[in-house]
Symmetry: C2
Subunit: 129 residues, 2 copies
Amino acid sequence: MYNIREASTMTGFSLDTLRYYEKMGLIQPASRGTGGVRSYSDANVHQILSIKCLKQSGLSLEDIKDFIADGQCFRNKEALDDEEMKLIQSRMSILAAQLDRLEEQRQALDQTIAEARTKLDYYEKLMQS
Amino acid sequence: MYNIREASTMTGFSLDTLRYYEKMGLIQPASRGTGGVRSYSDANVHQILSIKCLKQSGLSLEDIKDFIADGQCFRNKEALDDEEMKLIQSRMSILAAQLDRLEEQRQALDQTIAEARTKLDYYEKLMQS
DNA sequence: CCTTGACCTGGAGTCAGCTCCAGCGTTTAC
DNA sequence: GTAAACGCTGGAGCTGACTCCAGGTCAAGG
């Protein structure tokens, strides 16, 4: 278990940002000690790192919230009832939409990287001559 | 030549956004008519579309400004003087830094896309059974 | 001429995502 | 038992990127 300062140095987010993400519903520290002191588990830290990756790929906090919602709610079940079916379908359409956007973004990113390389090459040649 | 409304529909940016980008120094419409009416050339529209691509790959307006600075300032020259050398070197280091960030971002993005696919597959299997 | 519609400007407002701060509660060290 | 160090909370403040608006200019149509 880690305190917020340790979690901060392990993940690279500031104390304030960790608290802010919690308020926004992205993280739930494993527990609270006396005086309400936050305590982060390894799983917590892992999740925060995964949030960092999602952020770095350009998702908004809302998108991240949608993205990480779930994961283990439906395991170990023989059958699903109607409610669960609907829930899963709505999650699937959200995920599918996100995936589309991410793939578009990747195309743009590839193009941008290629252009940056071209520019750099151009400058390099310019300097050599 | 296109007016701002045409430029807007051609590029997908709002009128206000186009004017805002101009104020931020990203675009210079080819000319102004009577009453200061903006007039965009094909080259302008092309550049705006390229800005759109840069935006979509996650660059800030400042980064975009750095990215598109230049391009034709040093063509057709036999030799470069000291000033120009320094300018090019500073541009190269900015571009190189951006390239690094972009490549990191692409790693994150690939990972995110892979995770999204995994999640979708998982849900799909869940629904089939 | 006068109205209508498209454009202009400067400035205010909005939203996301932090960041900072005052004031308060523990715990720890002297 | 008290001061320093750390954490907590609620709320204010800030930046980037728009978005909206009031008030003005100009061109064309009736």
